[in-house]
Subunit: 341 residues, 2 copies
DNA sequence: TTGTAAGCGTTATCAA
DNA sequence: TTGATAACGCTTACAA
């Protein structure tokens, strides 16, 4: 049986000499009660240290003032800043963020979604569009407002950026500098739409230039600095070593630079490196990293705004694509002139 | 009015030809129902796509299977990995993590705690021990199991590391190398126990060596790479420029190195730099960063374990101090020999 | 503007 | 091992 401890509406009502209904209204719909009553109730509530029981409120009202977000991992500067911004904006609106992560495992994503729905979230934010059919079914069945972040399936609204374009931009930049052999270090493509899209963008840019991307020039690695180092090592061993390397996320690109430097290969004079994301650190590594700016905080803010709009029943949910742009820094330069195919 | 949508226990009971009580037991205390009944109920539940309503469950049982954590910010590699680990461990035990952050503002911390309590969390995890008295009162009044992470007040259990020792270790290391003028870049000391403790440790090490730390050699900066750069710039301008710089967090130390390198000052030959935390990146910047390893994931795991123990009523809550150690890398070396005071 | 009272979906008590 | 039923604390028609 539940603890009988914290003061409840009943206590407030008694102390203030009103009914629970009035007490409830005073706290939730103050405009419905007369000023003096309101004040009296609020005073009592304060003096008793009243904290509403959200569970009861949720049960009675069907709303929880809660938004759930399911992300691949907390361990990423990009997601961290997006989340931080979401949390900030939601808190301002009196909402609480429920975070669940799944480490890129579709099955645990399903579990996470189920748990969040079971908590009665008023809205659900998902990252990416590639998930189990069972997960989609559960989401659609739940009938809660849903939003995809970063990218996703067209049949549900998306707040994010054009990842294809991001890949296109870096690749074009390197091509314009004169690079012809480009290596790519990417994350796992199987369950990561963003990586896959970015890679497709890179291929598209190469295609524009009449080039193709040999399978050997693409390596899948963990999305971490060591992953970038490992991927770089692989590319450097190639017979026709690339003159430029793209990390499909900055963290990987930074790892790649570290690996080059550890081997005495100079960036950008010996080899160019570029990333995507524009994490804070990118501007401060040396050489500073050429990358594509992805407005991760903007994505968080816009997602929250769109979600709150949906929750309050306002307007059709519509997709939002935020602008991105190339940030040219010092890790990319003309390829070394030397005889090559 | 609440939505009439998802199937509930009533539906299951009807379909399975049992009472709601039995249906409830089958799902929550399977050992109390006969095998064939159990199977029947579970089958129906599955076929109906039943998802329990946590709010109702919470209201009826007084438990939410939820643990709240209040952290300064999500935007920190250290907290991110701790959270990720907490989330993982809690999920395994069927719990959900509720995260709230307050950006080092005591007032919003109070608000965060209130919201979490209002959500009925079964346990509350806080970072640090420096908070408003009102916050402490609210926490104590709530009577939920509470745990402090990283460091905290002695009157409540703490899972963390000895931050004083952390400062002591780096400082001793530099002193042993022969450095006598040490500069320190730290975060805001006012509302950040960890930074303050670390700084005290540094002072203690200097005192051991008969030295003191002039106020001018300590600069408070934002806990970010640019913060580290700015702090470093300040220290480099000093008349008696330090021969070694300690960043009380790695992120700052990394920024400091970047600033040195941008100015053509070489690390470690011209100046030594060291940090505290041992974030993933520390091993991969160049030169690799000397630091103190703080087991951030271990802290998360231990915190969850201790919390679950408390929630299930097992044992006295006791503090846990995890071991830390110096990680000597390549950013620290003997000071340049040159005439000095 | 306020009060009365019927739920909200689940758990837990008590009997059967 | 199961069933009937009273909570749990709050919101919200509906009535006054």
């Amino acid at each position: 049986m539940a603890r009988r401890s914290r003061p409840g509406l009943t206590d407030i009502a008694r102390e203030a000499g009103v009914s629970v209904a009035t007490a409830s209204r005073a706290l939730s719909q103050p405009e419905l009660v007369r000023d003096d009553t309101l004040e009296r109730v609020l005073a009592v509530a304060r003096s008793l240290g009243y904290v509403p029981d959200r569970a009861a409120r949720a049960l009675a009202s069907g709303r929880t003032s809660t938004v759930g977000v399911v992300i691949p991992t907390l361990n990423s500067p990009v997601f961290a800043s997006t989340l931080q911004e979401m949390q900030r904006n939601l808190a301002e609106a009196g909402f609480q963020l429920l975070v669940a992560s799944h480490e890129y495992d579709p099955a645990s994503e399903l579990a996470a979604v189920e748990k969040l729905l079971s908590h009665g979230v008023d809205g659900l934010v998902l990252v990416g569009g590639d998930r189990l059919e069972a997960t989609w079914r559960m989401i659609d069945a739940a009938g809660v407002p849903i939003l995809q972040m970063w990218c996703g399936r067209d049949d549900h609204p998306i707040v994010g950026v054009d990842n294809h374009l991001a890949g296109l931009l870096v690749a074009r930049h390197l091509l314009e500098l004169g690079h012809r052999r480009i290596g790519v270090i990417t994350g796992n493509l199987r369950h990561n739409d963003r990586q896959a899209e970015r890679l497709r963008g890179i291929r598209a840019a190469l295609a524009e230039a009449g080039l193709s991307l040999p399978a050997a020039h693409v390596t899948e690695q963990p999305l971490s600095v060591p992953g970038g180092r490992g991927g770089c090592a692989v590319l450097l061993e190639l017979a026709d070593r690339p003159t430029a390397i793209i990390g499909t996320v900055d963290v990987i690109a930074i790892g790649a630079m570290a690996e080059c430097q550890a081997r005495g290969i100079r960036v950008p004079s010996d080899i160019s490196v570029a990333g995507i994301d524009n994490v804070e650190l990118a501007a401060h590594v040396s050489p500073s990293l050429t990358t594509v700016n992805i407005p991760s905080e903007g994505i968080g803010a816009q997602t929250v705004a769109a979600m709150l709009r949906q929750i309050s029943g306002g307007g059709r949910p519509e997709s939002i694509v935020l602008p991105i742009e190339l940030v040219e820094r010092h890790s990319s330069a003309l390829p070394r002139r030397k005889p090559s195919g």
